[in-house]
Amino acid sequence: MTTVFREYLTCKELVELVTDYLEDRLSAEQRLKFDQHLNWCPPCRHYLEQIQATIHAAGRLTEHNVPDAAKETLLEAFRHFKSQQR
């Protein structure tokens, strides 16, 4: 990732630091630059919100379908094992 020596971040640099920002892995100095950039840049605020919405949506992928054949096999295995235990 880009090393930044200027006193400010460009938008192009900011988007590459978003994960480090959210994971709290930026240095104090980088974090300050990041927050300052967000203050004056609505598009980058939208970008950050979109990444957060993406993470949130990924956490909602709960509609899971298990093929019936796999369910049958596993249930059979579970019954078999339990019956042998008794």
Binding site: V18, R25, L74
Partner: protein
Amino acid sequence: MDALDTQKQAENFLAALRAGDERAFMSLVEQYHPTMVRVARGFVGTEAIAEEVVQDAWMGVISGIESFEGRSSLKWWILCILTNCAKTRGQKERRSVPFSSMGVDGDDPAVAPERFLDDSQPRWAGGWAVPPQVWGEDRLMSREMLELVERAIQRLPDGQREVILLRDVEGLDSNQVGALLGLTEANQRVLLHRARSRVRAALESYMATGERGS
């Protein structure tokens, strides 16, 4: 209080499983099986082998449930069994790709470079040329959005897919994912960054309402 309730629930659930409660077992299968197949897929050559690996892992869960001590979460314990089965199978197939080196090298920008102004405009170089548009409230968390996320994750390269599945879909923390996949924290973060960036990009055209951001 909540934490205690949750712990009590977990204990009850475990007791039901041990007692041979089939509904408890099937709810476990429904909850974890699809993720297990997707995670296994990153370690082995084909979907069919991934299914076999997951079957093996379930056998491990069924036979090991008596000795599971409940010090870690059930989810974590199941995923440990799964990745162990997957690694063993991957080694047999000699397709054991170390995640530590997978997809971390090279340049893979989060946003297409042409979306930014270039050096021909020195004062604004690196600023947005095509800024992200505000996403429609009505589309946030819609079924269509979730389907797009799901499909975008499926299309990711193996390493990126494994990391985003375990971190953002399953909600494990970075230490847990590092241990499961044998990844350094830094490499995991690179993969996570690329994965999230790609999934966001895949959502962009659907989510933008066409209205300018305010």
